[in-house]
């Protein structure tokens, strides 16, 4: 009887873990994409628009810095060196910053400089904003 209960519990845990929602893909639109395997950098230029979950990130240059951990490719950071607009579609919130950096380890994007935040029709300025984007760090086979 105890064995049956244990089997039932373990099968429930297994089914629950497999039913975890999958992270949606990151979709990036741009005019130019350069993959540099030697430097482990992916550069997007032109009209860049990155879509991930509720967020749209709009800029003219974006650099994805990767590093290789054995066979795996891991996301180190995403740099937005020029003016970047981060729109949270769900919260109707927009952040415009002169530059931003996403840390692959923490999953947080940090914006610095003269930042304009627009929320619910209100506009205010600040010098530092952190947003949790939660892009997974594991990016296997991104580089050939």
């Amino acid at each position: 009887m105890l064995r049956l209960v244990l089997i039932l519990i373990s099968s429930f845990i297994l089914s629950a873990s497999s039913a975890l929602p999958k992270k949606p893909p990151v979709v990036v639109y741009s005019n130019r994409l350069m993959i540099d395997r030697l430097m482990d950098v992916i550069t997007y230029e032109g009209a860049v628009r990155m879509e991930f979950e509720n967020y749209d990130l709009i800029t003219d240059k974006m650099l994805i810095n990767l590093y290789k951990d054995g066979e795996k490719t891991v996301l180190y950071s995403i740099e937005f060196p020029n003016q970047t607009k981060i729109a949270n579609k769900k919260a109707s919130e927009t952040v415009s910053a002169p530059n931003a950096v996403f840390d692959g380890k923490t999953g947080i994007i940090k914006c610095e400089g003269e930042i304009f935040v627009e929320k619910s029709g209100m506009l205010f300025t600040t010098t530092f904003v952190e947003i949790e984007l939660g892009i997974p760090q594991k990016m296997e086979h991104l580089l050939w």
Partner: protein, 181 residues
């Protein structure tokens, strides 16, 4: 009676004489169509079945180009049909298939067109045109390109390579990155 016989002979002769003219017209339209697809040239003089080129680059990477049919053209190049090309990159191989192509042995460049598919390290490539400079390992495409693997897909209006380590996509570029969870 003999007049009737002569009349019948004349009618048959004129009808037979007309036929080559019709065939010539059909041929010229076919030639024009093929020329656009780099499969047949006006000055093609030699037809070769199962043409194979196999050699090595200066980096000692081997390559081979096999065509079901090839026509040697005036400039010394070959217009080819049903091409299978393999290019060694270190220990790995890039395999490219195309319906049509042109290979210039002197310049060592291969221009592929019409339903191009490629495979390399789990990536698949689809393109409408592709130019490969084999000696310098430069790859170029000025038409829409689609590259896909299990984790990433890229579509663009064109692509090119810079050396062995840089891959550039241009035009309307769309990248899709899937995650393991």
């Amino acid at each position: 009676m003999s007049f009737c016989f002569l009349l019948v002979c004349f009618v048959i002769y004129t009808s037979v004489k007309k036929k080559p003219h019709d065939i010539k017209n059909n041929n010229s339209s076919t030639e024009t169509k093929y020329q656009k697809n780099h499969t047949f040239a006006e000055n093609a003089d030699v037809l070769v079945d199962k043409l194979t080129f196999a050699s090595k680059t200066s980096d000692n990477d081997s390559y081979s180009i096999v065509a079901d049919k090839a026509y040697k053209v005036k400039d010394g190049g070959y217009n080819m049909n049903q091409i299978v090309a393999n290019f060694g990159v270190g220990a790995n191989i890039i395999e490219v298939l195309a319906n049509n192509g042109y290979y210039n042995e002197a310049k060592n460049n291969l221009i592929l067109s019409n339903k191009i598919t490629g495979a390399y390290l789990g990536y698949t490539l689809k393109a409408e045109s592709l130019e490969l400079e084999i000696a310098t390992k430069i790859l170029r495409s000025n038409s829409p390109v689609f590259i896909e693997s299990e984790k990433i897909s890229v579509s663009s209006d064109g692509m090119s390579t810079e050396g062995e380590n840089k891959l550039i996509f241009e035009g309307h570029v769309k990248t899709r990155i899937n995650f393991d969870q």
